[in-house]
């Protein structure tokens, strides 16, 4: 595939330069990542898992990670799959999904979303300023994920460690989400 102009085009990332946080919660921008929105029927989940190299979780609110990608359960036939880390753009989630010769829908949403990493002892309290979910470790353990609401925008929340959350948000909502998180981080420190 000819990547015409890719060398000279500069892309301004959503939230470029944004900074915020408090003594109990740190806000950072996640590195750009490749993402697909995946829909597949229960009978064909195994074929997509094999093609993507990660077992698509079938339990509500759970995620699975393998081979540098994380698959998050969003609904009974719906997943968000993210290729981790910098330099993974173009690793080929779309191409790999296409290798599964079963009916499915994979949409590249790499640039639809951006992600904010919230970490620190006040991370859960920061998110709870705008999100009604129970984020105690019992109800939302490490690896748990959920599509939910944060203030007035929809997010996908993933707990990557006891005190670290990844907040996936649509890029056009990201300034709102970051602003509310920054306010929340301040409140969590009171």
């Amino acid at each position: 595939m000819v990547d015409f102009g890719a060398e000279i085009a500069t892309r301004t990332l959503p939230l470029a330069g944004a900074h915020g946080g408090s003594s109990v919660a740190r806000l950072e921008l996640a590195a750009p990542a490749e993402r697909i929105s995946l829909r597949v029927a229960a009978a064909d989940v195994a074929a997509l898992s094999a093609a993507l190299g990660v077992d698509l979780p079938t339990e509500p609110k759970t995620s699975a990670s393998a081979n540098g990608r994380t698959a998050m359960w969003l609904g009974p036939d719906e997943w968000l799959v993210i290729a981790d880390g910098p330099g993974e753009i173009g690793s080929g989630l779309m191409a790999e999904a296409a290798k599964a010769s079963v009916p499915h829908s994979a949409a590249d949403v790499s640039h639809r979303n951006t992600a904010i990493l919230v970490s620190g002892p006040g991370a859960a309290a920061t998110i709870n300023t705008g999100c009604p979910q129970d984020l105690s470790l019992a109800a939302f353990p490490v690896g748990a994920c959920s599509r939910t609401i944060f203030g007035k925008v929809e997010i996908v929340l993933l707990r990557t460690a006891e005190d670290v959350f990844r907040v996936e948000v649509w890029r056009s909502f990201s300034t709102y989400a970051f602003g509310l998180l920054a306010e929340g981080a301040g409140d969590a420190a009171l």
Binding site: P76, P132, R147
Partner: protein, 118 residues
């Protein structure tokens, strides 16, 4: 804040994640072209707007995205039961019903408050 049990997520979640989607169990006529205007109006426009037990569709729009069915008491706003889309109308378990009726007696309705005011 109301907590609503999503039958797909299998847990109680905040009402903020849900959206109401109208009366449940309305069957589309098999041959819609063959029915009379009155039958069409009944099917398409007219809803029961029940006081008390009502069956509704809800959607976990900011969650798993699924539509499902719910039995709700429109006086107390209590959700009595939820179940997956596509299932026939489910009976309310007797103990849930008894609980709801007991609770309803203590609920302040507009009519009661109006009565007090007079």
């Amino acid at each position: 804040m109301l907590l609503i049990h999503c039958p797909y997520c299998e847990e109680d979640r905040s009402e903020l994640e849900f959206r109401w989607a109208g009366e449940a169990h309305i069957a589309r006529p098999d041959n819609i072209a063959a029915i009379s205007d009155e039958e069409f109006a009944e099917y398409f426009f007219l809803r029961n707007n029940e006081k008390g037990l009502t069956y509704e569709r809800w959607r976990h729009i900011h969650g798993c995205g699924r539509f499902f069915n719910a039995a709700r008491d429109t006086v107390s706003d209590k959700f009595l039961m939820t179940y997956k889309a596509g299932l026939p109308k489910q009976p309310i378990p007797a103990e849930t019903k008894a609980e709801a009726i007991a609770e309803e007696k203590t609920v302040e309705t507009w009519e009661q408050m109006e009565g007090d005011a007079r």
